[in-house]
């Protein structure tokens, strides 16, 4: 932290929009006027429009494609099929997980919605007409929609395109200490078990994916405006796939209408628009429709989790065993750090003091859309924490212990940091018990338990659910974290102009998180420049420094740290300029916010703006002119925010409908740069948590038809269903982050779902039910109440015939 001695001339940090200021967002000025600039707003001269023809079948051999009728439609400029892509060696592309994915299908289609052909025409209506004129002859094949089917001995091989792929297993992976864990179970007084399915869910940002590719034959330069959370990764990927020179590729990610992990992978549509622009020598725009987005782009979850907990009678946890089968769809299209096949699932139980654990993970191919992206989550952490908190509640119930007390006695204590988790992560700080207590006080835990007991006498079903977790954010240090071999550092570049105004660029990419506002606040904090004097730019690879983009709540932990470091470099140079201006030696110069002064004569000082002017007009001999710096930040470790979420619910036993009575969230995300934005992130995250717990899921029937291919079937909560959120905070600064921040964008989505489910299961206690899979649709809850058994949500769903 910067040392600021309180003197009379230091600027008021809140007034200049520094750290801790709930500064109003600068990006809003254009958004509220309808002047945002999203990819569909990009219009280039001579631009053509592309539409994609998708497979209606989940698994089928392509016998023939006849596109002649499409070519005949006036206004059609180009029709691309897999065969044509193959002649350019572009029918397949690598995924971010060292697998391959079809750009356009050649041999067979492997999921419903797979890209089969595309049409480029003068307008999108014509392109759509032409797609409908393409005739594809399919030979249907048997369809696989879940891991059990995929692993059956006679299962058809989905990835027969790959050599050395004798089955549908996409990976096996394990972590932890098997022997020690076996011993823990041998020593246990009680063993508690749980089994569940975390359903497939789609991030569905309100803006779908799209791109405008513009290849200029004269200069050889390719410019692509596209919906990407990680423009530099895309530039690298395009350089590899299209074999274009990297310096002639410019990826621009304009304003994004949300991302939530959906806009991390490289999709076939982007690649086709690029090729189409190269072939037509015209700009080509592709804007995905909502169905295309829901049925073909990166989903989250779809993981089957089972595990057990070894317990001592007094409530201490001795060990954990976990196994997961994850459904990756037809291609391994995850975007996980390459060492971790199942992401950071093994961050489970990090907030509890547990001696040993062991996890096995198996990924399978199915005839479903590829994905497994980190949907508002730091690499499968959502599944980890959901399993953890469902397991914890089941164990507390098995022991007959109070669920809050059981957590309390197993938490890592405040003085126990740094702490090694049972799977080997190192956590560094937290006040877990305090957070829990703040939450329990806010919800009036004893009061609610009494109310619940009273209500039960009248046949009313009330429940309370707790979910506590610390999650690993800010991937990550280069020893362990990379995507396709590129280390997961991030970057910032700060240029202070002569009048003390500045431009800041980073390798991150905002999608609604408000970087243009908060990044300037970090600079204001470090340099005392008013935040309003700093413009922030991101997303253009020609101007932004190389960075890994924004997902997994990594922006503040990594890019945010880079910003602080760049600002500190600028400050170090400004100090030299100040010494020169004040005619003293550098050692005699002190800093207070916005101003250097002479230690022995505090009245003699120069502002940071005066230093900036001097950098261009009056620099000392031997000092390079200008005032700018860049920083590439490789974090020493992950950051570990903590969240405690508590829900109270009431179930209507006659219908199975449940209502949220209250919801309390206590977040400790370290130092908050802009509390208003932090709270906005938490409320948005909680709403997605509620969505997953209550209604939002993508499922499939036995023929592989996607149920959830539009917003009539894929239910997202509106303002009407969404509960009110009560937010509380605890602040434990991150010890290794330059400004003490930990990241927050996803905590509520990660920790929230278990609070709802635990609350509903608490209300059902005594009904002989251990688990109902999300989403807790009324019919599932009703089935649990009336038939007194667990309800699974695994596909295929029953269809009405």
């Amino acid at each position: 932290m910067t040392v600021t001695e309180p003197t009379s001339r230091a600027l008021d940090e809140i007034k200049i929009g520094g750290m801790g200021a709930s500064r109003k967002r600068v990006e809003d000025n254009r958004f509220i006027r309808g002047r945002g600039h999203y990819v569909d707003d990009v219009v280039l001269p001579g631009m053509l429009h592309m539409e994609i023809l998708r497979s209606p079948l989940a698994h089928a051999r392509i016998k023939s494609i006849d596109a002649s009728a499409a070519w005949d439609i006036p206004g059609v400029r180009l029709v691309l099929t897999g065969e044509m892509m193959a002649t350019r060696n572009l029918a397949w592309m690598p995924t971010l997980s060292y697998d391959t994915q079809a750009v356009l299908a050649t041999d067979k289609v492997r999921f419903q919605g797979q890209e089969v052909a595309c049409v480029i025409a003068d307008d999108p209506y014509i392109a759509k007409d032409a797609c409908e004129a393409i005739v594809v002859d399919y030979e249907p094949l048997p369809v696989i929609v879940n891991p059990t089917q995929a692993l059956a001995p006679d299962a058809p091989i989905i990835r027969d395109d790959k050599q050395n792929q004798p089955d549908n297993v996409c990976f096996n992976w394990e972590v932890g200490d098997r022997d020690r864990t076996d011993q823990a179970f041998a020593d246990a007084d009680v063993v508690s078990k749980i089994q569940l399915h975390y359903p497939r869910s789609h991030p569905s940002p309100l803006e779908t994916c799209g791109s405008v590719a513009d290849f200029d034959r004269a200069t050889g330069k390719l410019t692509v405006y596209m919906t990407t959370q990680a423009p530099h990764i895309v530039r690298a990927a395009v350089a590899l796939i299209a074999e274009l020179p990297e310096h002639l590729i410019r990826i621009v990610s304009p304003d994004l209408g949300g991302g939530f992990g959906n806009k991390v992978p490289v999709y076939p549509g982007y690649v086709m628009s690029i090729l189409a622009s190269i072939l037509t020598e015209r700009p080509v725009k592709w804007i995905e429709d909502r169905t295309g987005n829901l049925i073909s782009t990166g989903f989250g979850r779809d993981v089957y989790l089972e595990g057990e907990m070894a317990l001592r009678k007094d409530g201490r946890i001795l060990g954990i065993r976990m196994h997961t089968d994850s459904d990756h769809g037809a291609f391994f299209g995850d975007a996980q750090p390459s060492k971790f096949k199942i992401g950071l699932l093994h961050s489970a139980f990090a907030c509890y003091d547990i001696p040993t654990a062991h996890l096995t993970a198996r990924g399978v191919y199915t005839n479903k859309a590829p994905g497994g992206v980190a949907y508002r989550c730091s690499f499968r952490v959502t599944e980890a924490m959901f399993f953890q908190e469902r397991m914890v509640q089941a164990a507390a119930d098995d022991l007959g212990m109070d669920q809050a007390e059981f957590r309390r006695i197993n938490f890592v204590r405040d003085d126990d940091f740094p702490h090694r988790t049972p799977f080997g992560f190192l956590t560094d700080s937290g006040q877990y018990e305090k957070c829990l207590q703040v939450g329990l006080d806010a919800i009036d835990y004893p009061g609610f338990l009494k109310e619940k007991e009273e209500a039960a006498k009248n046949g009313r079903l009330l429940g309370i659910g707790i979910s506590c977790m610390t999650e690993p954010l800010g991937a990550g240090n280069s020893r362990e974290y990379d995507i396709l071999g590129i280390k997961m550092f991030d970057s910032a570049e700060l240029r202070v102009h002569m009048t003390g105004k500045a431009i800041l660029r980073t390798g991150a990419k905002t999608q609604g998180q408000g970087h243009e506002t908060t990044w300037a606040q970090i600079v204001a904090h470090e340099l005392g420049l008013p935040a309003d004097d700093i413009v922030v730019e991101e997303g253009d690879t020609d101007t932004a420094p190389f960075g890994m983009g924004t997902y997994a709540s990594r922006s503040t932990p990594v890019a945010g740290a880079a910003i602080a470091m760049a600002a500190r470099k600028v400050k170090a140079k400004a100090r030299k300029l100040a010494a020169h201006l004040l005619e003293v030696s550098e050692e005699d110069v002190e800093w207070e916010l916005g101003r250097f002064y002479v230690r022995s004569a505090p009245d003699r000082g120069v502002t940071i703006q005066e230093c900036a002017m001097a950098a261009y007009s009056n620099m000392p001999d031997g000092l390079e002119p200008g005032l700018e710096a860049n920083a590439y930040y490789d974090p020493p470790n992950l950051t570990w925010p903590f969240g405690c979420y508590i829900a109270t619910v009431e179930i209507d036993p006659v219908t199975g409908v449940w209502d949220v009575l209250r919801f309390v969230a206590v977040d400790d995300c370290g130092v908050r740069i802009n509390p208003m934005i932090v709270e906005g992130q938490i409320m948005g995250g909680l709403t997605e948590a509620y969505a997953m717990a209550s209604m939002q899921f993508i499922t499939f029937d036995e023929e592989g038809n996607c149920i959830g291919s539009n917003f009539m079937d894929y239910l997202l909560p509106t303002a009407w269903e969404t509960p009110g959120w009560e937010l509380h905070e605890v602040v434990t600064p991150c010890p290794h982050h330059p400004i003490g921040a930990k990241g927050v964008g996803e905590c509520a989505t990660v920790g929230g779902p278990a609070a709802f489910v635990n609350a509903v299961m608490d209300a059902l206690k005594g009904h002989g039910v251990r688990n109902v899979d999300m989403p807790l649709l009324p019919d599932r809850v009703y089935e649990a109440i009336t038939e007194r058994h667990d309800v699974s949500g695994a596909p295929p769903i029953r269809t009405d015939r």
């Binding site: 809003d28 945002g36 309100l206 304003d255 509106t718």
Partner: protein, 174 residues
């Protein structure tokens, strides 16, 4: 006259029927030759270059495309441009006055009622229609009134606050 996709002269291919429409958009009469199947949202965006109206779905669910037609909220992805012929359309670009923002715009900014901003134009126009009908709504009435508009970012709480704040301003209370 504005033609659709005017950057491509041959957009209206031979044999495609075209109808002339005149629509008052944010108080300005605009005329275009359109295909009968053209959606109002697309005419506004591509034809009239008013890109503040967004489209987020294919099924009339998300409300990102909400505009006012004769002061009533309409999902412009579900109305044909020819149906708007002779009517008055208000888009987000028509909300602010010459020198000041509309109270809803102020409210959304002040209460952090937006994040990515994609839903915001539709939300504000739906809210405008709501407040025209009910100048002093309760929180529940706002929630219900906006239930035709999805937001994936904010969790709605601040949107509700923004609308209530705007309502107070418009009643002259703030």
């Amino acid at each position: 006259m504005t033609s659709l996709f005017e950057e491509i002269p041959q957009a209206a291919a031979e044999g495609v029927p075209v109808r002339r429409v005149t629509i008052s958009v944010n108080g300005q009469p605009r005329t275009a030759d359109v295909e009968p199947r053209l959606l109002l949202a697309h005419l506004l965006r591509q034809g009239f270059k008013l890109t503040g109206t967004h489209t987020g779905c294919d099924t009339t669910n998300c409300g990102a495309c909400t505009v006012l037609v004769d002061d009533l909220p309409v999902k412009s992805c579900t109305m044909l441009a020819v149906q708007a012929d002779g009517h008055e359309v208000t888009t987000v670009e028509g909300l602010a006055g010459p020198s000041s923002l509309h109270p809803l715009q102020e409210g959304f900014k002040d209460e952090h009622g937006l994040q990515c901003g994609f839903c915001t134009p539709g939300m504000m126009l739906a809210a405008k229609a709501l407040l025209a009908e009910n100048p002093d709504p309760t929180e529940d009435e706002v929630r219900f009134g906006l239930s035709g508009n999805l937001c994936r970012c904010t969790g709605y709480q601040n949107i509700v606050k923004a609308v209530l704040a705007a309502a107070a301003t418009m009643r002259g209370e703030a």
